[in-house]
């Protein structure tokens, strides 16, 4: 399969592991984050947030003499709440208030904005405000949200459901004759995505330009601009968003915040810069929620393991509001469409409910619904295999879409563009040495049991208009543009509307430009994160940048290269079609001129140019779309060996193997980095991360002492093996890989634990796999379920 590998171990272009150009800045502490911005006259903003999950606000008492310092919803004249309606039929609409006015719907919801010269003083001011609440019963459990006697999160609704969906494709006919029918219940915990930097905003009103500039730690500056202009009633031309260095996003920073709208309004109202920096407690208890799914899944398989049908009822706990721009329904729509995974399937039925609860709104976290879906489907596959007494690899091999079938349109109309899924499985089995572990399992004594688990999945990335329109989200991505400008010294400025906050785009996009026109990546400057300088883009999310922004940079560089060649041709007395660009030089036959000289000629010595010169110059904006907008499908097989301590319930990861295919790798080192980082987060999902809520809707892990992120000591060596099957849909054959690592671990680790516990009759189906859950599963197997 490696015959198509385009990667080159050295060099500067596509396929080289060029060191990241942005790291010099970061490693020397020269990054500029929201927390580094200070302006003259700036006030710090703190929010008094709801201590209750569900309550009516009877009144708010401000301290005396605080008119210019303390603001409530009543003060925010002309400000609209955030509305993110899904286009799917039956959607119930919610409005997320900038400051809660009549009712609070989750702990941590902003109610009062307080300003002072320092954050500590602003928090002092918060303590002087009193809010008179009438507490209401809270909806804290998604499986009870639809009960007839459940309190209504939104008074005007008749059921706590944003959206219900159902799909049935040949289900009844296909399940007939199944030799194995296995039903399982799965649950994934509510999690908090945790970039090192939280959210943050500095809002500045310019009286002269009548322009509101908002510096925001965001992945989606252009979408934030659209959202803020709408909520504040400003023209787009009056709003500029600058995303400076951003310390990680993972989806958390792809939402419009009430806090940034509030800061913007205050900056205009008071004509002073306003800064809000989210602290970790705000972040954990009231903001960064994600991932909470519940599944009841039944698999139907033939005696040889052939997957006949899958039936699923899935609930997604969407929290209380539909957030802008991804809405409350992205996850449930994804669940229904991607549950079949990389498998052939004859019949499929899936019902989903995106339910409302008194918790913070759910946000799309790296992997979005795929992490939960892969966990549910892959653990179900192993349960079927156990029931049929065949191996996990046998049932997968029987049902994976093979390379001969590519491109393949699956049962939910997903277009698998290319790849060899069974080969990824084979390589992963070899690398983890599954037979050695099986031999070890036949002779185990003491308190420890080893197990091996697999998960295999595909990741749709860079999918476009038709897919997102089908999922109903209010912001549908279209195409992507990039600007390319040759500077008078022969350097290259690239302008993109996506944002780079860990992805290494300042390097990979420069490599693409080098591949196209030979400008040294060290002389490429990537301009991004400023709506004033960059083409409109829906931003960085959905594993789309390397395909979409990469494609656009390729197109813009090529178009710029064409202009460079025409000027070079004149200087070389050659035909433009005979000119080639390489390593900063333009060649025609045996003669050459530097690209720098071409630039100097254009900008400073136009007298040397011919009369019929193309006056559009050395600056272009070009657009890009993929061959079709169904997305690239990267895929991976994860294989993990675990040791389970039967006495303490502790799960240790002994070995971790990933075989993945990102198509053509622009920078293999950065692909590895993406996969490593995602895998660590996936291990967090599998073993550690959980934001529990009590019956009154109180979040119980509001500091990092209680919310357990994976740390270095928890992570085994992760061995990554690449396959490289180019996508036929993208400019260079590259595939989006940004989320992949975070998708596979829960399924693989749960399968490994179940493999270890199978001889004891115990099985887990709820993540994270805490010691308590493992001990519960063991106790249940011996009939001693804890109270």
């Amino acid at each position: 399969m490696d015959t198509n590998v385009k990667s080159k171990p050295t060099g500067k272009g596509i396929g080289s592991s060029l060191l990241r150009q942005e790291d010099e800045r970061y490693l020397h502490g020269r990054g500029r984050f929201i927390g580094d911005i200070r302006m003259q006259g700036m006030l710090e903003l703190a929010f008094l947030r709801s201590p209750l999950a569900h309550a009516r606000i009877n009144g708010i008492e401000k301290p005396a003499d605080s008119a210019e310092r303390v603001f409530t919803a009543q003060d925010l004249v002309g400000v609209s709440g955030i509305k993110a309606d899904s286009g799917l039929p039956g959607f119930r609409s919610s409005i997320q208030p900038v400051l809660a006015a009549t009712k609070v719907r989750h702990v941590g919801e902003p109610v009062v904005a307080c300003l002072a010269e320092s954050r500590a003083r602003a928090e002092d001011l918060c303590e002087l405000v009193s809010i008179d609440f009438d507490e209401l019963p809270a909806v804290h459990d998604m499986t009870k949200a639809r009960d007839a006697d459940a309190p209504m999160v939104h008074d005007e609704w008749d059921e706590n459901v944003f959206l219900e969906s159902a799909v049935d494709i040949d289900f009844e006919a296909s399940k007939a004759g199944a030799a194995s029918v296995v039903k399982r219940t799965f649950k994934t915990a509510r999690q908090c995505m945790a970039p090192i930097e939280g959210r943050g905003v500095v809002a500045v009103w310019d009286r002269h330009l009548e322009m509101l500039t908002i510096h925001s730690a965001t992945q989606i500056p252009h979408i934030v601009r659209t959202g803020i202009a709408g909520c504040l009633g400003l023209d787009h031309g009056q709003v500029r968003i600058i995303a400076p260095d951003v310390g990680g996003g993972f989806g958390f920073k792809s939402q419009l915040l009430g806090e940034e709208i509030c800061a913007g309004w205050l900056a205009m109202k008071l004509d002073r810069p306003i800064r809000w920096l989210e602290d970790r407690r705000e972040h954990l208890s009231g903001s960064a929620n994600c991932r909470e799914h519940y599944y009841e899944v039944t698999g139907y398989a033939g005696a040889d393991g052939e997957l006949l049908a899958v039936d699923c009822e899935a609930i997604v706990d969407a929290g209380c509001y539909s957030t802008y721009p991804f809405s409350a329904c992205l996850e449930s729509a994804q669940v229904a469409s991607i549950l079949p995974g990389p498998y052939r399937l004859k019949g499929y039925r899936c019902k989903t409910w995106s339910v409302a609860t008194n918790k913070p709104p759910i946000l799309p976290y790296r992997g979005v619904a795929r992490t939960g879906v892969c966990f549910a489907m892959e653990v179900l596959m192993d349960a079927l295999a156990r029931d049929l007494k065949i191996t996990p690899e046998a049932i997968r091999r029987r049902n994976l879409v093979g390379p001969e079938a590519m491109p393949f349109t699956n049962i939910t109309n997903k277009y698998f563009d290319s790849g060899d899924y069974p080969e990824a499985l084979t390589r992963a089995l070899d690398a983890i040495d599954i037979e050695a572990t099986r031999a070890e399992q036949t002779n185990q004594i003491g308190d420890k049991r080893v197990g091996v688990g697999l998960s295999i999945f595909c990741e749709q990335g860079a999918h476009g208009t038709s897919v997102y329109h089908g999922w109903g989200i209010p912001m549908v991505p279209g195409f992507e543009q990039a600007g390319a400008r040759l500077t008078p010294d022969g350097g290259l400025e690239l302008r993109v509307g996506v944002h780079s906050h860990g992805q290494g785009l300042e390097t990979t996009l420069a490599q693409i430009a080098y591949e196209e026109i030979g400008v040294d990546p060290a002389k490429v400057k990537l301009v991004h994160g400023d709506t004033a300088y960059t083409p409109y883009s829906t931003g960085t999310w959905g594993s789309r940048c390397i395909v979409m922004a990469g494609g656009a940079v390729g197109a813009a560089s090529a178009a710029l290269g064409d202009r460079i060649k025409h000027i070079a041709a004149h200087l070389l007395q050659a035909k433009a079609e005979d000119v080639t660009l390489q390593d900063g030089m333009a060649y025609a036959g045996t003669s050459s001129v530097s690209v720098e000289e071409v630039a100097k000629t254009w900008y400073l010595k136009p007298q040397l140019l011919p009369d019929d010169v193309d006056p559009r110059g050395l600056e272009v904006t070009e657009g890009y779309k993929t061959v079709q907008d169904t997305g690239t499908f990267s895929y991976a097989c994860h294989a993990v060996k675990v040791s389970v301590d039967l006495k303490s319930g502790s799960v240790d990861l002994l070995d971790y193997v990933i075989v993945e295919d990102a198509g053509t790798m622009i920078n293999p080192m950065i692909v590895d980095g993406q996969v490593h980082g995602g895998t660590v987060q996936g291990i967090g999902t599998a073993l550690f991360e959980e934001m529990p809520f009590d019956q009154s809707g109180q979040p119980l892990a509001s500091t990092l002492a209680d919310y357990h992120l994976p740390v270095a000591g928890d992570i085994p060596p992760v061995r990554i093996f690449h396959m490289e099957t180019p996508s036929p849909l993208s400019r260079f054959g590259q595939k989006g890989i940004g989320e992949s690592g975070a998708i596979g671990p829960p399924g693989a680790i749960a399968n490994a634990v179940n493999d270890a516990l199978a001889p004891l009759g115990a099985e887990v189906g709820e993540i994270p796999l805490t010691p308590e859950r493992v001990l519960d599963a063991l106790a249940a197997a011996t009939g001693e379920k804890s109270p």
Binding site: E123, D124, D279, D645, S650, F688, T703, L775, E784
Partner: protein, 270 residues
Amino acid sequence: MKAAAFDFDRADTLAEALVSETGDKPVAGNQSLGPMMNLRLVRARRLIDIATVPELRAIVETPEYVRFGAATTHAEVEDGETPDPTSGWMQAAASNIAHRAVRNRGTMGGSLAHADPAADWVIVLTGLEATVVVARPDGERRIRMADFMTGPYTTALGDNELLVAVEVPRPGPAARWGYWKFMRQVGEFAKASATVLIDPENGRHLCALGALGSPPVVLPDPLAIIERRVSAADVVPSALAGRPLQSFAMHIAALERALARALGEEEDGA
């Protein structure tokens, strides 16, 4: 969250450290108090930094015990900069407290006075039969570790009292020790812990359970446990009556493994 405003003074003498009015709080490493003040769960009118008071930094050795000044840091014990009456047991325990950054500043006395039920020194010093030395305006008093912690985050310290030292008795040459704590992650507070002390020359046998959400529990009839006349599975449920099954399982495992360590039977580095 930012702490509410407070004053800060540094004490140079024990007398200054003891002068405290309502709202004053002594602080040394600030590894627990600081975060709690930032969350505004704790407020102080004034913090008195006692980290460099000479009496609290002093180490006194006698034939019977080593007296550690309360401001001895975990890192100093870890690094062997202090004498270890237990020939390495304290050093090993210290080196597994939280993270090195916490150990650099956190102090033995601060940890005990804070009295987090899952903290290492709380169980380890109970298991070693240490004694806490408390200074008050009219003198000193001694409190056995087993009596010192009265509840989660509460101790026998009175209003005008300051924990100034910990006396750890020297075990005999044939003494054995086992400490096992269960953490899911490096640096985390323990979910379950246990100690076993076998000190035949001094006639001391002690088995204790920690990380209970309440003070450590010293188990009755330790010799029966050590001699394996009763099993951990027999002893723990009665000692922890009223608690959920899971905590039995983890504390049973903790006691078994602490015992295995003390008896030198430990397998596979559990």
